[in-house]
């Protein structure tokens, strides 16, 4: 299933980026993210733990960065995410594309687009439930991020689910030759995707 | 009409997964299809009066009424078709009211008077009209239709065609016996309360 949306964070792009460097902030923004390890430049491994309705679950996941583009006009990352919850007999695979671009009035826009395969018990939940839940989590994450920026403002209305992500995503140039490692963007990509993963897994019970 | 949701009680429906019937420990199970569950919740004994006969049944706190009826009482006209209350094959009447026994926890029915299709007399208006109208092909789902029809006629002795549709739409007959079923209910109504 394809999910796409974008949301605005009421802080300048530079401030958002700097927060992405702070693991504590990020951990606070991702529901249930207990562990996030960078294995090498392109591979991350982590674990989401949560307890819903007295059922504790623990889902391992990996993230492999596929491409990076870091331009003044916008930054974009594509990543392949895989997760598995053994107790729930479910696997997830996400091809994700995430873009960040500066917006007017000292704010920035995070846009994501993902093709998500969800297999096993969670996959049977059906698309409407997952769309609704992902939207809830997106708002939650945007709120946390805004709070972390010290600007408690309601996030902008996301684009219609299923629509292509913002212009930044489609207009982004391919990865430049040996770009500097844009940790901020990598983290942002992970955050958005992990938030979704967590959302989906939480809904499992 | 959808069958009535199971009665409320101390156990909330969210606490168990209805797709995983969990039955434990009957002394002499008739089918022993899912008995002697090793790791189960606390047991209790309930009394079910099924088709006029009283049964004392040991159940766990998550035993479904469907499984208690099939495995401990031995009535096999009550059937699992979907496990989610969507097909009506597991319908029973408790005190004359239809219930999807695949969603109902047995503990909540302690002391209940339950009627299944076996319990209806062969000369019962509904049973005899279903037979005469040929309202059964494989017949698997028909006991559920019979009970829903009995409930309908008890509430509404002269149902219109629309009333019949409204009351039976939650039951599925995959053989497609609906025309004969609709006719049978009309015949039963006429038989029970002639114009």
């Amino acid at each position: 299933m394809k999910l796409a949306s974008e949301f605005s964070v009421p802080a300048p792009a530079e401030k958002v980026f700097s927060l992405f460097f702070d693991p504590d902030t990020m951990r606070g923004c991702i529901p249930g993210c207990e562990e996030l390890v960078r294995e090498d430049e392109k591979n991350y491994r982590g674990r989401l733990v949560n307890e819903i309705a007295h059922v504790r679950f623990s889902a391992g996941f990996s993230a492999a960065i596929q491409s990076i583009s870091d331009e003044e006009s916008g930054k974009e990352v594509t990543a392949l995410l895989k997760g598995e919850d053994r107790r729930l007999g479910s696997s997830i695979k996400i091809d994700a594309r995430l873009a960040v671009r500066p917006d007017a009035d000292e704010s920035s826009v995070i846009a994501y687009e993902m093709d998500m395969a969800l297999w096993g018990k969670l996959g049977r939940l059906g698309e409407p439930i997952i769309r609704r839940r992902s939207r809830e989590v997106e708002l939650e994450f945007a709120k946390s991020l805004a709070a972390a920026c010290g600007v408690p403002v309601e996030p902008a209305q996301p684009a219609r689910a299923g629509a292509p992500a913002g212009p930044a995503a489609s207009a982004a140039a391919p990865a430049a030759a040996s770009p500097p490692v844009p940790k901020a963007v990598v983290a942002a990509a992970l955050v958005a995707v992990l938030a979704l993963l967590a959302a989906v897994l939480r809904r499992g019970r | 009409m959808r069958r009535h949701p199971p009665t409320s009680g101390t156990v909330t429906s969210g606490e168990r997964d209805a797709t995983q019937p969990q039955v434990r420990d009957q002394a002499e199970p008739s089918l022993s299809n899912a008995t002697n569950r090793v790791d189960s919740g606390e047991a209790g004994q309930i009394t079910l009066t099924v088709n006029g006969v009283t049964h004392h049944v040991d159940v766990a706190d998550d035993t479904l009424l469907l499984d208690a009826l099939r495995e401990a009482v031995g009535v096999t006209s009550v059937r699992e078709g979907c496990g989610v209350g969507a097909c009506g094959a597991c319908t029973v009447l408790t005190g004359g009211t239809s219930v999807s026994s695949c969603l109902a926890l047995a503990l909540r029915y302690d002391g209940a008077e339950i009627t299944t299709a076996e319990g209806l007399d062969e000369n019962d208006d509904v049973v005899s009209s279903f037979v005469e109208c040929g309202a059964a092909q494989c017949g698997y789902c028909i006991p559920g239709f019979v009970l829903m029809s009995a409930e309908l006629l008890a509430e509404n002795p002269r149902p219109s065609e629309q009333d019949i549709t409204d009351h039976l739409e939650g039951n599925i007959c995959r053989c497609g016996t609906y025309p004969e079923i609709r006719r049978a209910v009309a015949v039963a109504a006429e038989r029970r309360s002639p114009k």
Partner: protein, 769 residues
């Protein structure tokens, strides 16, 4: 008519044990006591296509009440390649071995003291997978970059598939070609051509009875009680799987709570047999509704096709490219591909026809037989095309079809002649029923009315074998042993009617024994609408043999030649000589309760189709002919279709029991309404997302048309029992196109993808503006 005659051929006697069905007193497989048994639950794959690196079972094994956990590797160690079974290709393991090929494939089986424990333990199993590139749909499969199977493995069942053994680097497991005349040239030269890209989605049978298999070992024999339409097939499969002589395998059944193709070939049985045999204990395997959705499905099918008429409006060319999505395992898909591909041009006189029909593997739950055996999917295309061509030519769609329909003796495009296939009679009957020739109030404002018709043709499964054994009891009752399975179609009733008619006895005194391969003789399968004709012929013959035996005994007793003896409902008669059957048999044996036994066989034959041209002068024993007429109203604001009148006609040769025939026609039509308007399995990247009855919509009493008219057309078959043929599938063939054609008539839009949801209709209306 005397009451006894009502119980013979042509009488609408009530179905066997209607009273028992109505009160739920007929015991099904799941109702049988099993005693102490291991209850089985299955751990299922969470990947569409992956290599199994490790299966972790220790945690599950440690759970109290768990007897054992078995993996595909465990079974392979004991059974080797025999683990792989299937009716056309030996490609499906009872538990995944080395690879998983669809989400939900069984990977490991837990045997436990009770079902709840077994199911809980499956959650404690986990599997390490190495991803393989998934083949999600027909487009992926035909792109030829990833393969569901490394090589093709045709089974030994069908000799004509031998040449496919070992073929690699393809997802196409079978191709059927029809080449009659030069269809492409005729199309290019033709004056009027219509084309379409048609899609019929995968659907599910959803018989309300869930599948269940109980298997055990007794005296070194594997015995089982199972929900199957194919006991003789299952016996052979289990014998092959366990390398046992047929005499050491016993398959028994009970009446089925519906099936429609869901409970045949390899379902729960190979797993149950393998577990019982290797564990040496009784096992009970059942499926939840969610699991039943994964056991088999109806093929989703894409058809790219064209139909061409010359300047005079005569059909000159039919071209079709048919792709059946058979999922991860071929099942009987290759057979469906051929049998349905050959009727893709429809029941019309067309000199030039070209069909390419392919059976394609994907990483989805396997697709197998479903009422209609692939034919509804091609009927969807040919009946939409011919309707559109009639519109293009400005002709009446009914009259245009009628002009081109095959008549008695005509050769169909695949080379076989028509007999006992009254397409014209069926079409006329439904057109008359829905008032085709009367003025139609087409409606104003948002409600618009329209009418549509469709015709269907299907070949009966050929060649097949039927056997019957009859025991006449001394008290003039009888026991009929056949392996036909009654699943609601009424075979236990009509087989008794056939035998009773021959023997001039009350059919209610004949009991039909439930299939038990230790007792009832071989019968190919109960499927493909073949039983009335094939098993019915075996039953007619076995009864004739019994009649001859009785007449012989009576002739001896009377001291007259056998030709002078006739059998009457009161017993044999010859002039003034008379005796009852009870006295006759008692006199013969000198004992009460003795039995006379006869046996008979009926086998149909065919000429295999040519590999290059797909043609055969006898591709089938006989044909099914059906037609559907629909009068509907479309709410143009919501896109909702209301069926005001649906008429469904089938040529059944001769109705053995007219009431049961009408129920088969109307029941099939109601199932067809679901396929037309809402029924479909929704998969997202290999994951089935509507596999519960909360999500999967089935026709309810609310979906009944305002008027539903089943019409029995009788054009007797020369070789049918009393002229009869089957009827189980005839009614479903044309339902979806008849409704779509009526939508076309009502609002002017042609929809080519099923189902015709309100959204698809409103979208088409918007595009049309």
């Amino acid at each position: 008519m005397r009451e006894i005659e009502q119980s013979w051929v042509g009488g609408s006697r009530p179905r066997f044990d209607t009273a028992g069905r109505v009160r739920g007193m007929i015991a099904h497989v799941g109702d049988q006591a099993v005693g102490a048994a291991a209850h089985v639950a299955v751990h299922r794959a969470t990947q569409p296509h992956a290599r199994i690196e490790a299966v972790h079972v220790d945690e599950a094994l440690a759970m109290p009440g768990v007897y054992g956990v078995v993996t595909g590797a465990d079974l392979y160690k004991q059974l080797g390649d025999r683990l792989l079974t299937g009716p056309a290709f030996a490609d499906q393991p009872a538990l995944a071995h080395e690879k998983v090929r669809y989400v939900g494939e069984p990977v490991a089986a837990v045997l436990a003291a009770d079902l709840a424990t077994a199911r809980a333990a499956t959650d404690a199993i986990w599997v390490d997978y190495e991803d393989l590139p998934p083949v999600y749909d027909l487009a992926d499969a035909l792109a030829g970059t990833a393969y569901v199977h490394d090589e093709l493995r045709p089974s030994s069942v069908f000799g004509d598939l031998k040449h496919l053994r070992g073929v690699r680097d393809t997802n196409v497991n079978y191709t059927y070609n029809l080449r009659t005349g030069d269809a492409e040239a005729a199309r290019d030269a033709g004056a009027h051509t219509v084309t379409g890209e048609f899609w019929a989605p995968p659907t599910h049978h959803v018989p309300i009875e869930l599948p269940c298999t109980i298997a055990w070992v007794d005296s070194g024999r594997l015995e089982m009680l199972t929900t199957t339409q194919t006991p003789s097939y299952v016996r052979q499969t289990i014998a092959d799987l366990l390398d046992l002589p047929l005499s050491r395998v016993r398959v028994t059944t009970r009446p089925l709570g519906g099936s429609f193709g869901a409970k045949m070939y390899d379902r729960l049985e190979p797993l149950a047999a393998a577990l019982a045999w290797t564990a040496g204990r009784r096992v009970r395997v059942t499926a939840t509704r969610e699991e039943a959705f994964l056991l088999t499905t109806r093929h989703g099918a894409a058809v790219s096709s064209s139909l061409t008429a010359d300047a005079e409006g005569n059909l000159v060319s039919s071209v079709a490219d048919v792709r059946y999505d058979t999922g991860a395992y071929a099942d009987v898909g290759p057979r469906i591909t051929a049998k349905s591909g050959m009727v893709a041009p429809g029941p019309y006189r067309i000199a030039n026809a070209r069909v390419l029909s392919r059976c394609v593997y994907t990483n989805k739950p396997s697709a197998g037989p479903f009422r209609g055996f692939g034919v509804p999917q091609v009927t969807w295309s040919h009946e939409s095309l011919i309707d559109e061509l009639a519109h293009e030519l400005g002709e009446d769609p009914y009259a245009f079809r009628r002009r081109h329909l095959l008549r008695e003796g005509d050769e169909a495009p695949m080379g076989t002649r028509m007999h006992s296939a009254d397409f014209v009679g069926c079409l006329d009957a439904v057109a008359n029923a829905i008032g085709w020739f009367d003025p139609l109030d087409r409606g104003t404002g948002r409600i618009r009315r329209g009418r549509g018709v469709a015709v269907g043709v299907k070949a009966v499964l050929t060649p097949t074998i039927a056997n019957a054994v009859l025991q006449l009891n001394q008290d003039n009752s009888a026991t009929l042993l056949i392996s036909t399975v009654d699943m609601g179609q009424g075979s236990d009733t009509i087989m008794a009617q056939i035998a009773a008619d021959v023997l001039r006895m009350d059919s209610r005194r004949i009991h039909v024994v439930r299939a038990d391969t230790d007792a009832t003789p071989y019968d190919t399968i109960t499927a493909g609408s073949r039983s009335t004709y094939h098993t019915g012929n075996a039953v007619r013959r076995v009864a004739e043999a019994m009649r001859d035996k009785l007449i012989g005994l009576a002739a001896e007793r009377f001291g007259v030649p056998a030709e002078e003896v006739s059998l009457t409902p009161d017993g044999p008669r010859a002039g003034s000589h008379e005796v009852t059957v009870a006295e006759l048999v008692h006199g013969h044996f000198g004992a009460r309760g003795a039995t006379l036994t006869t046996e008979a066989n009926y086998t149909s034959s065919w000429t295999p189709y040519d590999k290059e041209t797909g043609r055969s002068d006898k591709v089938t024993e006989h044909w099914f002919a059906g037609a559907v007429g629909a009068r509907i109203a479309v709410d143009t604001a919501t896109g909702r279709v209301r069926i005001e009148h649906l008429a469904v006609a089938g040529d059944v040769g001769r109705a053995i029991n007219p009431t049961l025939v009408e129920q088969q026609l109307s029941g099939a039509a109601i199932m067809g309404i679901g396929h037309a308007l809402f029924d479909q399995l929704v998969l997202d990247q290999g994951q089935l997302i509507n596999g519960t009855l909360l999500d999967y919509q089935l026709p309810s009493i609310r979906d009944l048309p305002d008027q539903l008219t089943p019409i029995v057309v009788e054009s007797p078959h020369d070789d049918g029992p009393f002229g009869a043929k089957g009827v189980g599938e005839t009614g479903i063939l044309g339902v979806a196109p008849a409704i779509a054609n009526a939508v076309r008539d009502a609002v002017g839009v042609r929809l080519t993808r099923l189902p015709l949801t309100p959204e698809s209709i409103t979208m088409a209306l918007e595009e049309n503006q």
